[in-house]
C-alpha cells in the first residue's frame, strides 16, 4: 500500500474538489472536504509512524511514486522518504494543519471566498507535505516553491486591498532571492555527487572520501535559501507584512509550518553542516542576530499580529542558532513546541480580532479576560510556554537551545549564549506585555466595540484548548532523544559539562524576570510604557521603524534598480536604441518615398516623358557598352 503517496495526495484531492466544485456545492461540502482530507492525512501519518516504530530507530520507509525523468542510467524519481525526522514534521503539518482547518470553519464563516480559501489551504498542505516527504532535493524544491505560491495566494487572499496584494508580492519576491541560493546549492550538489537524494548526500559527506565540493559553500548556498523561507536576516522583511493574510493562515503558514521549512532543510542535510564549521558558524550568528533584533522590534509593536510575527522571526532565529551549533535535534524540538504555542497564540489573536470585530491595535484593547475567558486562558498558557516558564513546552526546547549555544563543541560560545538569552528575556517581556495590554489592563476599547465583544464559536475555542494543552505538555516528550539515531547531539565541552543544571536556573530566572518586568510596566495600562518611550525617543523611533531595513532596501536596492531600469534599460536601451533605430529607419523610408512620390504627379505626359527618357537612356547605354 502506498501510504506515503496517499498522505501527500489527500490534500491535493481536497484542493481539486474544493477548487473545482466548492463554489457550487455549498459550504457544508467545502468544510467536510477541506477539514476531512487533512484529518485523513493525519490518520494515515499516524499509521505510517506506527509502521516506522516497529522497524527500528534509524529505519526509513521509502516509496517511489513514479519516475519523473530519466537520462542514460540516471534519473529523477518522485520518491517519498519517511524517517523519524520526516515523521515529526509530517505529524506537525497534518496535525496542527487539521486543527487550523477546523478553526477556519469558524473564523472564515462569513467570507465570500470560503471555498477558495479552503482550496488554497489544502494546496498549501499538499506542497508542504511534498517538501518534507520528498527524498530528492528536487522534489523538496518543488514543494518549497509550491508553499511559496500557496503563501502568496493566501497572504493576498483579500486581494481587493492593494496593500494586502503588495504584501503577497513582497513575500514571493523576497523568497525568490533565497531560492536563487537554494538552486545554486542544488546544482553544485548534483555536479559534485550526481545525486540529489538527501540520505545519499548525507552519506556522501559522512563517507571516508570527501566529496569534491566545499561543504561550506554548499551549506551557505542552501542556507541562503533557508533565510528566505524562514525569514532570517537579511531576508526577514516579508514575514511581518505577511500578516495581511487571514489569521489562521498566519498561524499555519507563517508560524507553525512553512517558515520552519528552512530549519527542516538544514536539519535534513545535517551531514553537510557537520563538515562545514564555517557555514555552521554563519548559521548560528545569523540566527542569534535575527533572534535578538526581531525581539527588540517586537517590544514596541502595537498590532497584535505584528508582535506575534516578530516573535516568530525571533523564535526561528533561535532554531537556526541551535542548527548552527550542531544541535539539530534540539532545533527540530523547538520547531515542534513552537508549532503548538505559536499556532495557539495566532489563533488566540484571531479569536480576539474576531471578538472585537476586526480591531488589531492592542492600545485599544484591555480587560478582555472577563469577556472571552477561554481565549484568555489558552492565550495565557501559550504565552507562558513561549516565554519559557517551566514546565510548559517552550521551556524545554529553549533551555536546550541556550545550553548548546554555550556548551556545544560545534561552535558554541558565550557570545551566542548572551545574545540568545537576551533575546529570550525580551521574548518573555514582550509576550507578557501583549498579554497584559490585551487581556488584563482596564479596558481601553471604544464603547461601541465593547458592546459587541463575544466569545468565539466552539470550532475555534475547541481548537484553542487542544493547542494550549499541547503547548503545556508537549515539552515532556523528549524529541531530541527520539531523533538522536538520525540527528546526533553535538559533544559538550568538558569544562561546562557539570554546570548544565545551573544554566537551567538561569533560563528560568530570565523567563520570570521578563514576566516581572512586563507586569511592573504594563499592569496599570499604557502610561509607564509610553513614559519610557518618551524618555528614549530616538531608540523608540528606531525600533518602531524596524531598524529601517525596508527603507534601506528601498534606497540601496529598489531605487538604483528602478533608476537603472528607467533610465538605462527603458530610456537608453528600449526607447533610444531599439525604438530609435526602428523609428529612424521608418523616417528615412518615409522621407525618401516623399521625394520619389513627387514623380507620380498624375500627368500622362510626364509619365510618357519619363518612359522616353528611360528608353533613350537604355539605348544610349547599349550603344556605349554593347
Amino acid at each position: 500500500m502506498n501510504l506515503l503517496t496517499v498522505i501527500v495526495l489527500l490534500p491535493l484531492a481536497g484542493f481539486l474538489l474544493n477548487g473545482l466544485l466548492g463554489g457550487r456545492l455549498g459550504r457544508t461540502f467545502v468544510s467536510v472536504v477541506g477539514c476531512g482530507l487533512p484529518i485523513l492525512a493525519f490518520l494515515a501519518t499516524i499509521k505510517a509512524v506506527t509502521i516506522l516504530q516497529t522497524a527500528g530507530p534509524d529505519a526509513a520507509l521509502l516509496e517511489v511514486a513514479y519516475r519523473w525523468a530519466s537520462f542514460g542510467d540516471q534519473g529523477f524519481d518522485v520518491a517519498f522518504y519517511f524517517d523519524r525526522l520526516t515523521a515529526v514534521m509530517t505529524l506537525i503539518i497534518t496535525g496542527v494543519g487539521s486543527l487550523i482547518h477546523v478553526y477556519s470553519t469558524g473564523y472564515m464563516k462569513d467570507d465570500p471566498g470560503y471555498a477558495r480559501y479552503f482550496a488554497y489551504l489544502n494546496l498549501f498542505l499538499f506542497f508542504m507535505l511534498t517538501l518534507v516527504l520528498g527524498r530528492s532535493l528536487l522534489v523538496c524544491f518543488v514543494g518549497w516553491e509550491g508553499v511559496g505560491l500557496a503563501s502568496y495566494l493566501l497572504i493576498g487572499f483579500w486581494f481587493e486591498d492593494p496593500a494586502k496584494a503588495a504584501a503577497g508580492k513582497k513575500a514571493f519576491i523576497t523568497n525568490r532571492v533565497g531560492d536563487a541560493g537554494f538552486l545554486l546549492g542544488l546544482f553544485l550538489l548534483y555536479w559534485a555527487l550526481g545525486t540529489l537524494n538527501m540520505d545519499e548526500i548525507n552519506a556522501a559527506f559522512a563517507g571516508p572520501v570527501a566529496p569534491a565540493v566545499s561543504a561550506s559553500l554548499v551549506g551557505l548556498l542552501l542556507f541562503i535559501g533557508a533565510t528566505g523561507k524562514s525569514a532570517q536576516i537579511p531576508l526577514h522583511v516579508w514575514l511581518p507584512d505577511a500578516m495581511a493574510g487571514p489569521t489562521p493562515v498566519s498561524a499555519l503558514i507563517h508560524a507553525a509550518t512553512m517558515v520552519t521549512a528552512g530549519v527542516y532543510l538544514v536539519a535534513r542535510l545535517h551531514g553537510i553542516y557537520e563538515h562545514a564549521p564555517e557555514a555552521s558558524q554563519i548559521v548560528a550568528v545569523i540566527g542569534v542576530l535575527t533572534a535578538f533584533f526581531a525581539a527588540t522590534i517586537a517590544l514596541v509593536q502595537t498590532d497584535i499580529k505584528k508582535v506575534l510575527a516578530y516573535s516568530t522571526v525571533s523564535q526561528l532565529g533561535l532554531m537556526f542558532l541551535a542548527l548552527g551549533v550542531g544541535a539539530y535535534g534540539v532545533a527540530v524540538f523547538h520547531v515542534y513546541t513552537h508549532a503548538f504555542f505559536k499556532a495557539c497564540l495566532f489563533l488566540g489573536a484571531g479569536s480576539v480580532i474576531h471578538a472585537l470585530g476586526g480591531e488589531q491595535d492592542i492600545r485599544r484593547m484591555g480587560g478582555l479576560w472577563r469577556r472571552i475567558p477561554i481565549t484568555f486562558g489558552t492565550f495565557a498558557v501559550a504565552t507562558a510556554a513561549i516565554a519559557g516558564i517551566p514546565p510548559l513546552a517552550g521551556f524545554f526546547s529553549k533551555d536546550e537551545i541556550l545550553w548548546f549555544a554555550l556548551a556545544s563543541e560545534h561552535g558554541g560560545s558565550p557570545f551566542l549564549w548572551v545574545l540568545g538569552s537576551t533575546a529570550s528575556l525580551l521574548t518573555s517581556f514582550y509576550m507578557f506585555r501583549l498579554l497584559w495590554l490585551t487581556f488584563l489592563t482596564p479596558s481601553r476599547m471604544s464603547h461601541d466595540t465593547e458592546h459587541h465583544v463575544h466569545e468565539s464559536p466552539f470550532s475555534m475555542t475547541g481548537v484553542l484548548v487542544v493547542l494550549a494543552l499541547l503547548s503545556a505538555i508537549g515539552g515532556f516528550f523528549q524529541l531530541p532523544h527520539f531523533l538522536e539515531p538520525l540527528l546526533p547531539m553535538p559533544a559538550v565541552s568538558e569544562s561546562l559539562e557539570h554546570y548544565e543544571h545551573s544554566f537551567v536556573f538561569v533560563a528560568v530566572a530570565v523567563a520570570f524576570l521578563g514576566l516581572a518586568t512586563a507586569a511592573f510596566m504594563y499592569r496599570g495600562g499604557l502610561a509607564r510604557g509610553e513614559a519610557l518611550a518618551a524618555r528614549f525617543p530616538r531608540l523608540h523611533r528606531l525600533l518602531d521603524g524596524k531598524y529601517y531595513v525596508d527603507e534601506l532596501y528601498q534606497a540601496v536596492l529598489y531605487r538604483p534598480l528602478h533608476w537603472l531600469s528607467d533610465r538605462v534599460f527603458l530610456g537608453l536601451g528600449d526607447r533610444l536604441l531599439i525604438d530609435g533605430s526602428l523609428h529612424g529607419l521608418a523616417a528615412i523610408t518615409r522621407r525618401a518615398s516623399g521625394r520619389l512620390s513627387r514623380i507620380e504627379n498624375g500627368q500622362l505626359q510626364w509619365y510618357v516623358a519619363m518612359a522616353v527618357i528611360g528608353v533613350v537612356g537604355c539605348l544610349v547605354w547599349v550603344w556605349r557598352n554593347g
Partner: protein, 100 residues
Amino acid sequence: MADTQLLLGLSFALFALGLVGVMVRRNALVMLMCMELMLNAVILALVTFSLETATLSGAVLVFLIFVVAAAEIAIAIPIVLQLSRQRSSLDVEGYDRLKG
C-alpha cells in the same frame, strides 16, 4: 536600296511625330491617334525589313499587330468615352485622381 532607306526614314519620321504628339498634346483622343501613328511606324519598319530579308514571317507578324492594335483601340475608345462623359472634357491634365 534607296527605297528601303526612304521607307525606314518615313517610319522614323512617323514614330517621332507620334511620340512628340503623345508628349505635348493634352487631348486624350489625339494622344490615342498619335499612339496609333507610332504603332503604324513600327509596322512600316517591320514590313520594310521583311522585304529586305525576303522572309514571310515579318509580313505575318504585321497581321498579328493589326489585331492587337484593333483590340487595344476597342478598349481605349470606350475608356476615353467614359472619361469624357464624367468630366465633359478630354484634357488629360484633369484626370490625376490616381496619383500617389
